[in-house]
Amino acid sequence: MGFLTLVQRACTLALLGVLAGAVHSALEKPLQLAPKPPAPPIAPANAGVVGGHSPAANSSGGSTARGGPPASVTEAPVKQDGVLGLDITLDQAWELYQQGTPFVDARGMDEYIAGHIDSAFWMPTEEFMSGHTPAALPLLDSQSQIVVYCDGGMCDASKNVVVLLQQAGFTRCHILTDGYPAWAKANRPIATGKPQIGGN
């Protein structure tokens, strides 16, 4: 077989892929390219998770929390997040944390085990594989605020998880832009160890 035939057939296979891909993209529901800004709250809602579940339940028993324990989900009324945009600062995240807002760690398992925001759920993008629901997702209230974080800086994982959460109906997501490193550096509560929910 000549080189030309070799290349022609390779191009034919590539063209087949392009055609199949074009048809598929036309049939598939539109992809969401970027996270949307959080929706305003529908009604004064309790922060936290469905059924009063404390996010603390996701921490492993061997965690080594620094600072104070997370506040109870009913301890303080939720601040209306109309003023909070998609990206929030460390101080805004800390305020939400104290109100019992659930935090979601979008990083890999190894990074979560090495250190995470105390009580944070582990929910990386891989947990959203088709046909699988992230184990912690049913525990979260889609109407309540959620803070997602990764490593900050050049890290895209939190943005990606927010897109996936929004597709799952969670409209009040925020991203802690400076990520876990800033949280830990500010001496906020952290923990180590495996997540109790997910990652099996």
């Binding site: 296979l13 392009v18 199949a20 598929h24 993209s25 992809l31 594989m129 490593d151 050049m154 895209d156």
Partner: protein, 156 residues
């Protein structure tokens, strides 16, 4: 009369099966959740890539992987399929090198949640893995399909 299979042909067969199987698997995994793969493409932040091309690639890359991977498994247009996959691997290696050079923290998105043997953000391990796969692909390009291939049956 059937053409003789050189001893090297039996060495090419596992290369063909492994490479074909891996790429079919990778393509199917990506198509199971296109949103995830789109995010993986976006995370590479290729300069000047428009969003509509991003969306098209989200579907075209997996389908190319499936088409070429299936051709390799069947031994149909084997060398051409291996050439296509090798070309794709060269692009993947270039993209990974670019990410490493820019010091970015991105996930590969190559095999969904089944990132073996490389886990975590894109790193040198991904480069080595793709380099090994490229070597397998080039072996098939240069030495042909080996035994148990439609190409071979059709030339009997």
């Amino acid at each position: 009369m059937p053409s003789k299979i050189r001893p090297l042909g039996w060495l090419v067969l596992p290369c063909r099966i492994i490479l074909g199987g891996l790429f079919v698997f990778a393509g199917v995994i990506k198509l199971m959740n296109p949103q995830l793969f789109q995010q993986a493409i976006a995370a590479f932040k290729v300069p000047g890539m428009p969003s509509h091309l991003e969306i098209l690639l989200t579907f075209v890359v997996p389908w190319c992987e499936i088409a070429a991977g299936a051709a390799l498994l069947l031994g149909l247009w084997t060398r051409s399929a291996a050439l296509l996959l090798s070309s794709m691997l060269v692009v993947f290696i270039a993209l990974i090198s670019s990410v490493l050079w820019r010091g970015m923290d991105v996930k590969c998105g190559c095999f969904g949640k089944f990132e073996v043997p490389c886990t975590g953000p894109v790193g040198p391990c991904h480069l080595v893995r793709n380099g090994v796969l490229l070597a397998l692909g080039l072996m098939v390009v240069f030495f042909g399909p080996g035994p148990l291939a439609i190409d071979r049956e059709s030339t009997k």
